[in-house]
Amino acid sequence: MERYIFYMVALIMIVSAIASVSSRKMLRSVIYLLFVLVSIAGIFFLIDYNFLAAVQLTVYAGGIIVLMIFSVLLVHHIEMRLEVAKVSKRILTAIACIIGIGVFVTTIYSYDFKVEGIATTTTTEDIGIGLLSFGEGGFILPFEVISVILLAAMIGAIVIAKGKRLEPNNDETL
């Protein structure tokens, strides 16, 4: 049963990814990206990492997609069609990518992975303890650094997007 669900999710993911990089309309491309992200969350649910799937759904599907849709609506007419690269360049890139996939897949299949058979469930408590422990193998320093990075990115985004102060057009209204 899980096998067929995985194949369905993989099919949806690849078809929407191809549609996302080849669609001529901007907004549709973003919506296809949303399908890809939701199916990745489905894979996280399948391999039993519920917390990571929830993070994927809230941060990516909830946050980044909405940000991208807003930016598309701010900078584009919806009807406008994108210009794409020349056909020869697209074919050349596609051939290079297929060769790359071939190299990756042959390397993966020639390596003998030592798969552990035991299935353990990870609770959110384990992840929280691991993120905040400062002993051996603890991740508290990167956790704090990430919070500083998020704060810096937030302030930087506000400052950059605000741009120059708007000059008042006519002084009589002020």
Binding site: F6, S20, V21, V72, A85, T93, F113, L150, A157
Partner: protein
């Protein structure tokens, strides 16, 4: 781990996703489309981290932590990139790559 699915099939899936992202990154001419392709590449790497953690070292959590950090960095990067794009559009009224010759303020 998923019943009946080996690690090889999932790694094949993420390789295909990664190269679709590379294809979009090279062929698109628009800043927001390039950003979408970068998101595809980052997501492929996140799935790789998680799957290798689950199949090879199921009693550890390092892959999950790195995935959370990658997601946080990707969110910060997207917010900054979109603010730069909006500011650029305000100044030169275009988000095509060929029109952007200067990043001077």
């Amino acid at each position: 781990m998923i019943e009946g699915i080996s690690i090889y099939e999932i790694l094949t899936l993420t390789s295909i996703l990664f190269f679709i992202g590379v294809y979009g990154f090279i062929t698109r001419k628009n800043l927001i489309s390039i950003l979408i392709s970068v998101e595809l590449i980052l997501n492929a790497s996140v799935v790789n981290f998680v799957v290798i953690n689950k199949y090879l070292y199921p009693d550890m959590l390092q892959g999950v932590f790195f995935s959370i950090f990658i997601i946080a960095v990707a969110a910060a990067e997207t917010a900054l990139a979109i603010s730069i794009i909006i500011n650029l559009y305000r100044q030169i009224s275009s988000v095509e790559v060929k029109d952007i010759e200067t990043m001077k303020y």
